[in-house]
Amino acid sequence: MPRHPLSGATAIVGLGITPQGKVYGNTPVGFAVDAVRLALEDAGLERTDLDGLLLNPGLAWNDLGMGSFQLQQAMGLRDLRLSATMGLGGATASAMIQHAAQAIAAGLCTTVACIFSDAPLKPPTADRERTSSASAYGFVRGWEAAYGYFGVNAMYALVARRHMFRYGTTQDHLGAVAVAQRRWANLNPHAQMYDQPLTLEDYHRSRWVVEPFHLFDCCLVSNGGLAVIVTGADRARDLRRPPVYIRGMAQGHLGGDPSDTLSSGAVLTRGPALAMAGVTLRDVDVVELYDCYTFTVVVTLEDYGFCAKGEGGPFATENVTGPGGRLAVNTGGGQLSSFYMWGMTPVSEAVIQVRGNGGRRQVAKHDVALVSGNGGVLSTHSTLVLAREPT
């Protein structure tokens, strides 16, 4: 079978991660600028090398009324050939990289920065000691507020409950995902939960947010910025870092009611993305899944076919997906235990692993990484297959 023209044609050559978490005194634009600067430095490129800018603005950008073209001005970039503000929620990061790769492979531009940044957390004040994601993500939604129904946590909880009802997924299953990822985070000094071990008992004792989600079922809403630089394979080989080739890609957006489908768009992307990459699931060494909630990991494991539909709960036990297990999933601790930069979190950890820069958490064989992004409530989905070699 002839190779797909996009497969291995481009690579991620730069990764920029600003400080993450309860980081105050910077703005969404400031985080974006810092992330791009770090990514260019990582790649050994200059600002003038960029001719494409793709932006996924986080929630705090809403107040700024800015998109990619205003960010271009703020960053002093000239003569761009690709610019877009993209909004597919958590699927945006991998989708931006796909659009960058497509434009570069088609010869429309050469070097694209893909950016996510956000600053939803406010510093603690005297009357409000704890900063929580409630203020950032607990937005009131019209008439539903009359029933005390607020925010994304509750929206996802209704879907998770259906999965539990239909497939027998248990609280222990969700807890196993949280524990496995925490064990990875305990090996990652950059993770916010690095020095905080978590047992299943700790998980069950943690406070409820909205049932069936405990505190440790929910991602760590973070301030920060994250950028990657994508360029053509030929140019990538001459740069500072080993290229992380973009071997396969696909998007899949199911539509309908997620309470009925109980699936992510991975069911649509797995075939085409793996085929483009010329690999099968068995060739995948590292799996970086979008994990806004533990539940999302359960569903996504099912939908990529790592286990049968409905068996993601039993599958996602500590011994399988944690350090030393047979499937390395969310090796940096993920959004649950490291930091939440929407879809950029799984992308960045895949780049680190494929490069072999994972330190104590480095997976021994790291030729092929599978990356997922998910937006809305299982509404949008994007998949990347990243690899050490272009073919």
Partner: protein
């Protein structure tokens, strides 16, 4: 003067017939004139047949719990005394799914499939909230 401090539903033009019926202690849902699909909340366009024609139709108020979540986190101060409380999705006998609260049932006893029926809570002189309570299985 009302002392009710929780958020009240905005009387948007699309949803006004729902709240007006609730005030009369009647439950109605929007129904597409093109294909007959019942839907909630109100929308301009039917996602099934793309018709813009719709009517409001009375429904029995009987259904089952399709899904639920128990809210522990306080997102609004007026709910502070209420947590933990249940937000449910009811699947009505007529087919539409409504978001509401379950009352008269300990949160630990809720399960998908549980039969429920509508009750009407007059929270202010102008606003009535349809909610649901358990009903005997027939």
């Amino acid at each position: 003067m009302s002392t009710y401090t929780k958020p009240l539903p905005q009387m948007t033009p699309e949803m006004a017939p729902f709240w007006e019926a609730a005030r009369r202690h009647e439950l109605v849902v929007q129904r597409c004139r093109g294909c007959g699909t019942p839907r909630f909340p109100a929308r301009d366009i039917c996602s099934r047949c793309l018709s813009r024609e719709a009517e409001w139709a009375p429904v029995s108020g009987r259904g089952t719990v399709f899904s639920y979540t128990v809210m522990h986190q306080i997102y609004h101060p007026a709910f502070a005394a209420e947590v933990p409380y249940a937000v449910i999705v009811v699947e009505l006998e007529e087919g539409a799914r409504l978001l509401s609260n379950l009352v008269g049932c300990p949160v630990g006893d809720i399960a998908p499939g549980m039969p429920v029926e509508a009750v009407f809570e007059d929270v202010t002189p102008e606003v009535t909230l349809p909610k649901f309570r358990p009903r005997a299985r027939r």
